[in-house]
């Protein structure tokens, strides 16, 4: 059966082109891979190869013709033994239009109403009467990792100086002794490489915790955090992803230069596929870290060197977790809402104290996670105070 040879699209944007030159003539035999003609696009001259075997029955578009639209028949290919007259009755291999997805049922836009106050989860992080202990953020992070490593043997920690040195900032103190070198792994100084290996290990079914000595150094690894970890679930249609935690100190520390001081909160919170946590208190550091390790998505966990040594109340319970996407109201007030997260909370709470001395009643909200972000708590607060101040370093 004779078939039409169609003008090909030779780039993602090509709509038409020039049929520059025929390299075959009517009556020539062609087989797949033979170059039939040259086609000029706006970018280049391309060779167009035959896909099927046959004989050129008729050339429909002469060489030198400009503006030939994609999918126009340019020649007719006959099957071997077929008469040239068959060229007049061809079957078109023109593409069938893709079946359009069902249009979503049109729904009338809802009547505009005054917005109701959003619903928020205001349950306290721990019930009244819970036994508390004082702990530093450093100890809380270590305990969270240790508890999760006891709970799931697929959880492991890798990074520079995390094992024998006990952590550059001593966050992993004692973990090597308890879990051994198989699960607490010192890496060479090679952020790009070990971040990639961590993502691959997550693809392979493990639950890695990848420590960066600071998030500034993770700039060498940002390709794997975004392109490999955050995007794979989508690109695989939900088949596989990277359930893992990238963690380390973020933002300005004391008396260090620009290459050790950047706050990446605003960067990572823009990335679909990532979750981002930036705790302030030790109880949140612990509860959010445990949630991060269990989360089926890649989590960017932004700590702060200055906060590592600060002490807070931490519930002395067996399995304390804090959910992502739930802000904490540290102080209720009616005059102004101050929203912050991470070390910014230090300034927010200090400011609220000073304002109180001046008779101004500030409400202070700690977002705790930036992606997902609990915007409802802020909106609800601002509906009460009508004023909002945000505090962040990045």
């Amino acid at each position: 059966m004779a078939t039409e040879i169609l003008m090909p699209a030779l780039s993602p944007t090509m709509e038409e082109g020039t049929l520059a030159k025929w390299l075959v003539k009517e009556g020539d035999k062609v087989s797949s891979g033979d170059i039939m003609c040259e086609i000029e696009t706006d970018k280049a001259t391309m060779e167009f190869e035959a896909v099927d075997e046959g004989v050129i029955g008729k050339i429909l578009i002469q060489e030198g013709t400009e503006g030939v639209k994609v999918n126009t028949a340019i020649a007719v290919l006959l099957e071997e033994g077929e008469d040239a007259s068959a060229a007049d009755s061809v079957s078109s291999d023109a593409p069938a239009a893709a079946p359009a997805p069902q249009a979503a049922a049109q729904s009338k836009p809802a009547e505009a109403k005054a917005p109701a106050a959003p619903k928020t989860d205001t349950t306290p992080d721990w019930p009244e009467g819970t036994k508390l202990k004082q702990q530093t953020v450093r100890e809380a992070l270590r305990d969270a990792m240790a508890e999760e490593m006891r709970r799931d043997e697929n959880v492991f920690l890798m990074g520079e100086e995390v094992a024998e040195y006990q952590g550059a900032y001593k966050i992993s103190q004692g973990l090597l002794d308890e879990f051994g070198a198989k699960r607490v792994i010192d890496t060479p100084i090679t952020e790009h490489g070990f971040a990639g290996i961590g993502v691959g290990a997550a693809f392979g079914g493990l639950r890695p915790i990848v420590e960066f000595m600071t998030w500034n150094f993770a700039m060498q690894a940002i390709d794997h955090i975004l392109n490999s970890a955050a995007k794979t679930l989508y690109m695989s249609g939900g088949q596989m992803g990277a359930p893992m935690v990238f963690r380390g100190p973020n933002g300005a520390a004391a008396r260090v230069g620009a290459q050790h001081s950047q706050d990446y909160a605003a960067w990572y919170m823009q990335i679909p596929g990532l979750k981002v946590a930036m705790p302030y208190s030790a109880s949140d550091a612990k509860g959010l870290m445990k949630s991060a390790i269990r989360d089926p998505n890649p989590v960017v966990f932004l700590e702060n060197e200055i906060m590592y040594g600060k002490s807070f109340d931490v519930p002395d319970v067996e399995d304390y977790t804090v959910p992502f996407g739930k802000a904490r109201i540290w102080r209720e007030g009616s005059d102004v809402t101050i929203v912050s997260f991470g070390i910014g909370m230090t300034y927010a709470l200090e400011a609220a104290e000073k304002l109180a001395a001046e008779g101004i009643d500030a409400e202070v909200i700690d977002l705790r996670t930036l992606r997902p972000m609990d915007t409802a708590s802020t909106i609800k607060s601002v509906m009460k105070t009508n004023r909002c101040v945000t505090v962040e370093e990045g």
Binding site: P95, G200, M235
Partner: protein, 336 residues
């Protein structure tokens, strides 16, 4: 277009040779069809064809066992077909349809199969190398004897993260095979113009990783080398490098006119070194198959490919709402 090179003696059985012929032909015909669908506007974006390189992946897949993993770059259609993924699902992903392996969200460069342990399909040159090492790391951690084939090109071999990975893979004795598919051109830049060493595999020596160069147009040579590599990696001796010298007949992508090499260079390779013709000649000369047997295989392959194209045309496009799904998982998307 008969291969002029005299065929050599082989210990391979008729069944084995027929299987290689069939697997390579499936890739060749599938890719030609993909090129055709691209020309018809049915495949959008970029599309990188594997034509000419078929012996690499077919030879290596012949050395794998159940449980082994593979990961590659964006020139990935051949790898998926060779590891047994369904041609319908691959072609439908090329056309961006619901029936595709990534349900239309990955396209030519990004397909995955949990079932076949095919970890993609990656568009960032070099990035799949540490990812492959991570998959191998997971196998070692779990204590099984699986190995991971990590494929990348001569172009990717100049990325720094490849050498970061060589270092850690050697240090931690990861059970993996680095497969450098050297098709001589990193897009339009020849190896000579981009790479300081003539033998890329020798760079492994600096890390204590053994390796070898392999004739990538000869499926039997690829399989032999693959067996040495797999034996090394599976026995716990760490990684192995195979630099497989191959050639792509088509441009880097569909929109590459390939002006950086002569038409004669390509034609000479096709005429004298074609991997499929080589096996075809061995089959005929040894009377392992008749012309009619091979015609029957051709016909069977043609039907598989045409059916996949048909499926890829009729499978519906994903609904617009799908843009918002699979961004976050609610449960762990793979067995832990």
């Amino acid at each position: 277009m008969a291969a002029k090179k005299p065929t050599k003696k082989t210990n391979a059985s008729a069944e084995e040779l027929q299987a290689y012929y069939k697997d390579m032909l499936l890739i060749r015909r599938f890719e030609e069809k993909a090129g055709q669908l691209y020309g018809m506007g049915l495949i959008g974006g970029f599309c990188h064809l594997y034509i000419g390189q078929e012996a690499v992946v077919v030879g290596l897949e012949a050395t794998t066992k159940e449980g082994d993993s593979r990961i590659t770059t964006y020139r990935d259609h051949g790898h998926m077909l060779a590891c047994g993924m369904n041609p319908d699902g691959v072609m439908a992903e090329l056309t961006g349809r619901e029936g595709g392996y990534s349900r239309g969200k990955g396209g030519s460069m990004h397909m995955f199969s949990k079932e076949k342990k095919f970890y993609g399909g990656h568009g960032i040159v070099g990035a799949n190398v540490p990812l492959g090492a991570g998959v191998a790391f997971a196998d070692k951690y779990k204590g099984n004897d699986n190995v991971t084939f990590t494929y990348f090109g001569d172009g990717a071999a100049n990325q720094g993260q490849v050498y970061e990975t060589f270092n850690m893979a050697a240090l931690w004795k990861l059970p993996m095979i680095f497969v450098i598919e050297n098709n001589q051109y990193a897009m339009g830049t020849s190896q000579q113009r981009s790479t300081s060493s003539a033998e890329i595999w020798e760079r492994g020596k600096a890390f204590g990783i053994p390796g070898e160069a392999v004739d990538g147009m000869d499926v039997l040579a690829v399989k032999d080398a693959g067996e040495r590599a797999v034996k090394h990696a599976r026995s716990g001796d760490g990684p192995y490098i195979l630099e497989i010298k191959t050639y792509r007949y088509r441009g880097h992508s569909m929109s590459d006119p390939a002006k950086y090499r002569t038409r004669e260079e390509v034609q000479k390779m096709r005429d004298e070194r074609d991997p499929i013709e080589q096996v075809r000649n061995i089959l005929l000369e040894n009377k392992y198959a008749t012309e009619d047997d091979l015609k029957a295989i051709d016909k069977e392959i043609k039907k598989i490919v045409n059916d996949s194209a048909e499926f890829a045309k009729i499978s519906p496009e994903p609904a617009p709402e799908e843009l918002w799904t699979d961004i976050y998982a609610t449960e762990v998307p793979q067995e832990a």
